[in-house]
Amino acid sequence: MHPAPSVIFFTVFSGLGFGFLAWLGVGMPAPQGWAAFPYYFVAFAMAVGGLIASTFHLGNPKNAIKAFSQWRTSWLSREAVMSVLTLVVMGLFAAAIIFFNTPIAVLGIIGAVLALITVYTTSMMYAQLKTVPRWNHWTTSALFLLLALGGGAILAANSFGTILLIGLAALAQIYVWDAGDRRFGARGHTMETATGLGRIGKVRMYEPPHSGTNYLLSEMVYVVARKHAIKLRIIAFVLAYLVPMVLAILSGPAFGTYIIALVAHVVGLLAQRWLFFAEAEHVVGLYYDKR
């Protein structure tokens, strides 16, 4: 799949933003009055910034308001509805804290739950796709949720949360990479099933339908630069998981080191998300003898 920068930024930053909102919603940390403003500003800037980035991926964004209508069947529509609902609830929660110094605990807990549901709906846009076997598994959602909570813990400067959740995310990541590498083959999608010609024998491409490229190939059969995948996996794993965990273990509650942990985590996550798309193989590639 084509690793579009807009979608990479969207999933990384909205995940972090909603993860941080979940921590703020349960009062960890619980800043009061105007001191709370920077916390909520960072959380909202990431969540909203990510959502705005996602609209750059649209071919016809003038109809974007209609994306709230099909929540009965569409995970993308559910994601739109849930993100706005979360932002409204957490906006009210933040306003009560900043302007009136009164945390409304119930509102915060509802907001935290909504924030995690939002991250889940984001993950399901990918995990629902049978056409991309690497994504089509519940561990895709588990990793998105653990990363949102773990990234939120770094933003919340919570050492125990960082160690636990980033640690769990790291374990999930190892499984996701390892199992993902084998799932396309395990699902049994081949050129023979794609063409139905397997009953005769072995199929190979004789001539593609055109000499140039097309939307399908550039969007869904992205095969460039996968040769660096192993190096990028190591970079992503060290920066997104190991560095924040080590810093959280060594420094405990020292705020300054969390800035370094956050920078490392975000850079690592950008590499991880690039791989998430670049390594994902769509079954349509079988019609082009490419994966």
Partner: protein, 249 residues
């Protein structure tokens, strides 16, 4: 509405005969022509006269080579591919705006371009590469089964079939109603073992592909044998008398 209909009154679709298709791409061109000049946003081309031309097509012909398991020569199979108008169309349910829908009256899967935001998720959800986002219009394009031909009473009756079917010079494409067991397409599917593409995806495609018929295999023959074998060992009649008479001399 992106909820799929439980059942559809008709199941309009295509049968594509892989044994008959000669790979001429006439269906590709007629599809592009009809769908550029008629319903919805035209199918744009990018860099059409330049070094790297590409564009939007709703129908593309792939060509494959199959090496039979039983031995013998490899077979070339030309393989036209367009929307299969699946009964369980995954492209419809993922649509966030309701632009994608499957008609309950005839099962045709369509995009309402006025509602489409061009997010591309439906193209991701389709295993067959049947949907392409038009790079100029920014909206999703797909086969409409020429809905503006098949019900169009301004056209002569012979033309009320999809453009690809009308134009196919080999007669490899057939249009009809799969819900009617006596229709041409239902009969062809039953007779020739019409098959689904990537059935393991669970999409239940309406369009069926007729597999190439088994090829003849040559018997082992000694090419010179028929010439050298004596026509008759024991001549009869006049030749038999002559033979005996000459022997007696």
């Amino acid at each position: 509405m992106t909820q799929l209909p439980q059942t559809t009154d008709k199941k309009l679709g295509l049968v594509i005969d892989l044994d008959t298709c000669v790979g001429c791409h006439a269906c590709v061109i007629s599809c592009k022509g009809w769908n550029t000049e008629n319903y919805g946003a035209p199918l744009s081309d990018i860099d059409a006269y330049g070094a790297d031309p590409h564009g939007t097509f709703l129908n593309r012909v792939h060509s494959f080579e199959v090496q039979p398991d039983t031995g013998g020569c490899a077979q070339t199979v030309h393989f036209p591919k367009s929307c299969l108008h699946c009964e369980d169309a995954p492209c419809v349910t993922v649509c966030p705006t309701g632009a994608s829908y499957k008609r309950s009256e005839d099962g045709i899967v369509l995009v309402n371009e006025d509602d489409c935001i061009g997010c591309g998720l439906c193209a991701w959800a389709c295993p067959y590469g049947a949907r392409e986002l038009d790079q100029l219009a920014g909206v999703m394009k797909k086969c409409t089964l020429c809905i503006d031909r098949i019900y169009n009473e301004n056209l002569p009756e012979v033309d009320r079939v999809p453009s690809c079917v009308r134009t196919c010079p080999a007669g490899a494409r057939h249009f009809g109603d799969f819900a009617d067991p006596d229709s041409n397409v239902s009969k062809l599917t039953a007779e020739r073992g019409g098959m689904d593409l990537m059935p393991e995806q669970g999409t239940k495609p309406v369009n069926k592909y007729l597999p190439p018929r088994p090829k003849d295999t040559l018997e082992e023959v000694d090419a010179s044998a028929p010439i050298l074998t004596p026509v008759s060992d024991t001549p009869k009649g006049f030749l038999g008398w002559l033979d005996k008479a000459l022997e007696a001399l």
